[in-house]
Symmetry: C2
Subunit: 213 residues, 2 copies
């Protein structure tokens, strides 16, 4: 019982700080988007392609257990970016975001992309102050993911299905994937894209533009 109570207290404290982050983002005129996915689904690739196509100023927080590869890729595009290394923690939390954005030039940015740690479980539990949660799935992971990770897919405001260029070589039943999403989340749009070829990114960009308009 003690453990459960403490976990609840941690989540309550996180929710409170997430609300404060949201207020800070609102004051700065920036919309924060929490991007979550399995390792290697293409979160960074999506952010990089979106920077190229969006036509709006953005800032980025990169979350990883270790390494700074992703922040370096984003930084190469002259976009304000901060890397969080969680050490071992399997998700970002609101306090990490608060600390990270202190070192980030938010003023002028319209969207703050927060790339969470690659993990289809734990990040769904922790609010960061975001206006939208985007789950990136990818074709090579298989069409059964919404059935196996319902918590993540039910939390999504929108779902990006990446790597559709691999459909010819991967066994993937699109109908089964969509049925699985709709079973836990009737309202979230699903964008079928390839960050490698650029296919399908137009609707995703339009959705983002509408979100911040």
């Amino acid at each position: 019982m003690m453990k459960i109570k403490i976990v609840k207290n941690i989540l309550d404290a996180n929710d409170q700080m997430a609300l404060e982050n949201k207020k800070l983002f609102d004051e700065a005129g920036v919309v924060a988007i929490n991007i979550m996915a399995s390792p290697g689904a293409g979160k960074t690739s999506l952010i990089l392609k979106t920077i190229d196509l969006l036509g709006l100023p953005v800032a980025v927080v990169e979350g990883d257990i270790a390494s700074t590869f992703d922040a370096e890729k984003v930084g190469a595009k002259n976009v304000p970016v901060v890397q969080i290394n969680t050490g071992g923690a399997c998700h970002l939390d609101a306090a990490m975001i608060r600390k990270a954005v202190k070192g980030l030039r938010l003023k002028g940015a319209r969207i703050l992309f927060v790339e969470n740690v690659g993990n289809l479980v734990c990040p769904a539990e922790f609010k960061l102050g975001e206006s939208a949660k985007v789950v990136v799935a990818s074709v090579p992971e298989g069409d059964d993911k919404p059935y196996k990770y319902p918590g993540m897919f039910s939390a999504a405001t929108a779902i990006v299905l990446n790597k559709i260029d691999t459909l010819p070589v991967i066994d993937f039943n699109m109908k089964r994937f969509k049925n699985g999403v709709h079973a836990v989340n009737a309202g979230a749009p699903i964008f079928e894209v390839s960050c490698k070829t650029g296919e399908g990114l137009g609707n995703w960009i339009k959705w983002l533009q509408k979100l911040v308009s």
Copy 2:
């Protein structure tokens, strides 16, 4: 401080139960192998192909947040199998394994494959009573995973790199992947395989046969 202490207590209790599981497996003459990976890397496919090729009796524990798809696939091969649904927990623990194997015909099996929840972070922390930890990586996830998830790759007894049939269509630098593994784990063998085509599975099977001989 309270949180850290409680987490330590949970890990200590888990380690104790893992030792008891190990003793139970030793008495039954079965070697337990903890199979860990990102969602969709191919843990179940590897288990299914291994059952076909190994020529030894096995039993399987399937771990998922939700669903029974994987256990059904294994059960179709007339192999003793139990499905654990963790509800929301991001990893298996020794107590779940203890409970699961009570319903499993271990006698006569030489290997118990335990398929952990798809997650490259949390499962590495929890011993189950296994003799070996196998991490399944996959080409579409990218060559940077050992750098980003060093805890998981350093914990591995062996690494299976799956989906090498997708190398022609995925940007993947094999040298970078292997350098990343060796930086955190000098001793673990890396088996390059495709569970789809069967390529490369021979060395993996030989390694398993040696492990239980």
